[in-house]
Amino acid sequence: MFRALSTAGLVSLFAAMAIAQAPQALTVTSPTLKAGVTIPRDYTADGKNVSPPLQWSGAPAPTKEFAVICDDPDVPMPQPFVHWVIYKIPGTAKGLPENIPIDPAAAMPADVAGAVQGTSGFRRPIYRGPAPPPGKPHHYHFTVYAIDAVLDLKPGLTKAELLEAIKGHVVGEGELVAIYERKPSAEQP
């Protein structure tokens, strides 16, 4: 009897720990992107290729910083193709404005001052939007991470390096998934 109670207690304890460590769900939206809907051209390589605006809510109290990753798992590659890595977004931010500068010397918008960008699959520390091969719609996951610490993160991290660096500090997570497809084009002269 006593043993059974102990076992049950341990199970409850582990369950409570698991709940405590699971990231809280964030709600991620955008004034211009809609879940499951085609991404407007200006956020793609067929347009101006500027970064889209994002908004989020539901971050838990311990949140000190945010990070955002955009990737595409539909590429014919072992890992999703990374389009954007941005982090050290202040914990007070409610989102990212449109058109984050591509010039590393340019100042970040005031609401996200201090944010830095990491290295994408295009080997650039900037947003580069969808440019998929024609054939099918690709899904673009804009994932937002709430982080409970101000970590010493250098600019230029890859997605893998960033995820490793924030491991154990993610207290909230959410995503917005939109799509984009290129149609086969006629041969130009």
Partner: protein
């Protein structure tokens, strides 16, 4: 679009051995600093006056103007001094396309036309009329291959055309002036290349001594004659990275 610091780092190795125009393609390209000045907000076609002064030999006037606008972003004139346009990189490329790089002429015709089509379809205007920031953004898409499937008509990957233009721009900026670029030794001055030397004195080799730069073509020395230059257009090896 190339940061000056990274450019110098990459080009230093190139210039160190560049007696001729056979500049090898360096690894990688720097990141994307667009100008953070007010100039970033206005169209960037102020380089028209710096177009080749000699009659064009291979490119059309339209192609030369577009190419001038492109190389102006690859190695821009800035606070560190003149850039590729001022160095005559376009004149070098034009002259080479009529001679030793003739095998690349068609690639330029198709590639430049594709860049212009891509500018109009993606950014809504001619490349020359875009702001420097938009020009840089567009060139990044060309460089990374993101422009390939845009319907602009690049042959294969847009990245191949970018690599071709980049390699030739570097040749025209940092190569020997004998080939028509590197005017007034702009490229050599930019990277601090001491110049072609056939002799190095003991004084030159002392620690801490910075030799006075020699500014003359390698072909002006007796032991390096023009006869050694391979100018046969049928020779595909002469500086052509394709």
């Amino acid at each position: 679009m190339i940061s000056r610091r990274a450019l110098l780092k990459a080009a230093g190795a190139v210039a160190a051995g560049a007696a001729g125009a056979e500049v090898t393609r360096a690894e990688g390209i720097a990141d994307t600093p667009a100008p953070a000045s007010a100039a970033a907000d206005r169209p960037a076609h102020d380089h028209d006056q710096a177009s080749p002064r000699e009659p064009l030999e291979a490119l059309t006037a339209e192609e030369a103007a577009l190419l001038t606008a492109i190389v102006a972003r690859l190695i821009p004139a800035d606070l560190n001094g003149p850039g590729a346009v001022e160095a005559g990189a376009v004149a070098y490329i034009d002259r080479a396309l009529a001679g030793s790089l003739a095998s690349s002429r068609e690639a330029y015709r198709r590639g430049l036309a594709a860049v212009e089509r891509y500018a109009r379809s993606s950014r809504g205007g001619s490349f020359r009329e875009l702001t420097p920031v938009d020009q840089d953004s567009l060139l990044i898409d060309v460089e990374t291959g993101a422009a390939t499937g845009s319907g602009a008509g690049f042959d294969g990957s847009s990245a191949a055309f970018f690599a071709l233009v980049r390699a030739h721009t570097w040749q025209g900026t940092f190569g020997d002036p004998h080939y028509g670029g590197n005017r007034e030794y702009i490229g050599w001055n930019l990277v601090g290349y001491p110049g072609v030397r056939t002799a190095v004195t003991a004084d030159d080799q002392r620690l801490g001594v910075v030799p006075a730069p020699l500014r003359r073509s390698a072909y002006d020395t007796d032991m390096f004659t023009k006869a050694t230059a391979r100018l046969d257009p049928r020779d595909p090896h002469h500086g052509d990275p394709a």
